[in-house]
Symmetry: C2
Amino acid sequence: MEALAVTAVAPVNIAVIKYWGKRNVELNLPTNSSISVTLSTDDLRAITSVAVSPQFSEDLFWLNGELQNLIGSKHINCVNILRKERALLEAADPGLKKLSNWKIRIISENNFPTAAGLASSAAGYAALVFSISKLFELDLNQTELSKVARVGSGSSSRSLFGGYVAWQAGNLENGDDSVAVEVAPVSHWPNMRALVLVISAGKKSVSSTGGMQRTVGTSTLFPARHLKIVPERMSQMEDAIRAKDFGSFAKLTMCDSNQFHAVCLDSYPPILYLNDTSRAVISFVHYFNEYYGAVKLAYTFDAGPNAVLYFLEEDSAQVLSCLKPVLPAAKIPFEVDEGPSGFCFDAMDMLKIGITDIVYSRVGPGPEVVETSLFAPGDKFVPITATQR
Amino acid sequence: MEALAVTAVAPVNIAVIKYWGKRNVELNLPTNSSISVTLSTDDLRAITSVAVSPQFSEDLFWLNGELQNLIGSKHINCVNILRKERALLEAADPGLKKLSNWKIRIISENNFPTAAGLASSAAGYAALVFSISKLFELDLNQTELSKVARVGSGSSSRSLFGGYVAWQAGNLENGDDSVAVEVAPVSHWPNMRALVLVISAGKKSVSSTGGMQRTVGTSTLFPARHLKIVPERMSQMEDAIRAKDFGSFAKLTMCDSNQFHAVCLDSYPPILYLNDTSRAVISFVHYFNEYYGAVKLAYTFDAGPNAVLYFLEEDSAQVLSCLKPVLPAAKIPFEVDEGPSGFCFDAMDMLKIGITDIVYSRVGPGPEVVETSLFAPGDKFVPITATQR
C-alpha cells in the first residue's frame, strides 16, 4: 500500500495567567491573553500517529482506542486547514504528491490519570496539528501552527511550544493575530517543577466553553479582568519569567488562578469548580510559604478541583516532605524525609482523603516527532492492539 | 438605690447587598452602601438591659453572662457618644437629672445558635444604643442612632430599623452621612420569609474586619465592585423592594452574595468562607428555581459557610418540602409533605451531613423597649440567674 505516516508527541500546558472567555466561539478567539508552562512529555503527553494513503476510502480517527465521529468535528476542521496549506505547496510544485487529496487516518492516545480533568485536548490538538504538518512537509513555524491548533482547542495553541509560552489574544476578527509565542525556552529556566494533585470530583458541572460564555455574559466583574487586569499581569508575568523571579511568578500565578475562579463565582448561576480539598491545598500552600518565610510554592486550578503546584527543583524535597503525609506513597518520585515536626496545618485530613493521584513533572519541550507508531505492524493502518505492543 | 433602667430587644439583619470594605476602620465607614432585611426578634434577637445610678462606682458590662472588659472597647465608645448627647440636654434644661455623669451597667444576651456566625454584633450594638437612648430620653431618630451603632459595628446601623433597610456609605470624612435609612417598612412587604441554615465549620479563619481590609488592599477586582457595580445594584434592589418583585430581589441577592465571595477569593491570600455544604446549598437553590420554572428562592452567605434563604410565605411550604429530607426534623416550623418525587439534586447527602441547625424567621420590626429585665429582682443591678427566671 502506498502510504505515508508520522507519529508525534505533544505536551500539556498549565496556564499561569488564565484563558477564560471567548470573543469568538467558532474560532476560539479569547477575550484576554494568557501564559502557560509546558510540562514534560516524559510525564504527561498526547501521542498521535497520522497516515495518508490514496487507498484509504475515508477519514478515520481513533481516540484512546475508540473510533470517533469526525464529521463536523473540530479535529477535521484542523485537518482541512492543513490540507489547504498542503494544496498550496502542491500547486506551486507539480512534482509533489497530492497528499491533500488523500484520506487520512489518525490515532491519538494520552496517558493522563483518569478523570484528571487535565488539559488533554490541548495536548491532543497540538499533537494532531504538529504530526500532520510534518506529514505534509509544511513550511509553517510553531506560531503559524498554533493558529490551526487554536481552532480545535484554544489552550492547545500554547502546547506548540516548550518552556514558557504566551498566547496573544489578538485583535483581528479572523484570528490571524491570535497566536502563541515563546516567552522563554526550557533552557532559560529549566528548574521549574510541577506537581499535579488529582482530586476526585463528581462529574464536571459546567463545561469550559459553557462556563466561559456564562462568565462573559453575566459576570459584572469580568470586564475589569479582561480589559485591565490581565493586560497588566501579562507583562508582569513575562518579566518574572525573564528575570527567573520565582516569588513574583508564584504570587501572580496564585492571584490569577483565584481571580479566574472569582469571576466564575461572579457568574449567574455561579460556577464553582473548587471543592473543600482544593481549599485545603490553598491553605497548605499559604501555610508552607509562611512557614518558610518565602514564596516558594504556588498553586493553580483549572476548570475543576485538581491542583497543579509549581516550585523550583531546589525546593522540591522540602515541598514533597511537607506533603508526604497526604500523598499516595507509591507515587512520590524520590526518597524524602518527613516534613519538620512543627509543620502542621488545619486541612491535613482533608488532603489525605481528597488527593487520589499525583504526577510529578517539570517544564519541558514542545511537540516532537517520535519513532514509535500507534499503527499496527504491517500496512493495514489500524490501531496497534495491547498484545502487539 | 436611686437608679433608672430600661430593657430593649433588637433584631439581626441579613444583607442582600453586602457591606465589605471599610474606608475608615476607626469609624466603620464603608467603601460601599448596603441593603438588608431585618429579621423578626421573635426568632433571633439581642436583648439588653441598661441601668444608671449615682451609686454605681464603675461601668460594667455582662455579655451572655460573662463580665466583659469595657476599657477601650467599642461598647464604651458608643456609651460615651450617647452620654455627650445626654449632657447637651442636661445643659439646656438644668431640671434634668445628670445621668450623663452616672456610671452604667449593661447586660446583654442573644439567642443565636452557637457558632452560627450570625450577625450577633449587629443586634447587640443596636440593642445597646437603642436602650441607652431611651434611658437618656434622647431626642434622636433611628437614622441618628444608626450613626452611633455604626461606630460599634458597621452592620449594626441597619438593625435600628425594621423591614428593608439601606445603609448609605456617605462621603464625609467624619461619617456624619454614613447612616441607615428605611427603604420600606415591614408592612410594605410582610410576607418575606427567611431560613437560616447553620452549617458547622471550623474556626473562622479570617475575621470580618481583617478580611475586609485584605480585600481592599489586594483585590484587583474590588474597585469595579465598590465604585460601579454596587451603586447600580443599590438602586436596582431598592426598586425591587418597592415593587415587591421577588424574582429581581432574589437574583440580585444571589449575585451580590456571590460577588462578595468572589472579591474575597480575589484577595491575597484568598479568603474562602464557603465550604462544600455551602456549595450544595447554592446547587439546591438553583435546582429548585429551575425545577419550578421561576426564581422563588434566594441564598445569601455572610463571612462564613452558613446560608440564609429568602422566599415568600406563599412558597414556604414548597421550599420546606423540598428541603425536608435534609433538615433536622424537630426544627421544621410547620407540617409539610415530602417534596415532589422527581425532585432530586446532586448534593442532597452533603446537605444532610452539613446542616446542623435551622432557624425559620421572617421580616420583622426594629428595636423595641420591653418589660422583661435582665437585672435580678431587687435593686442590686446584677444579672438575673437561671433560677430566678
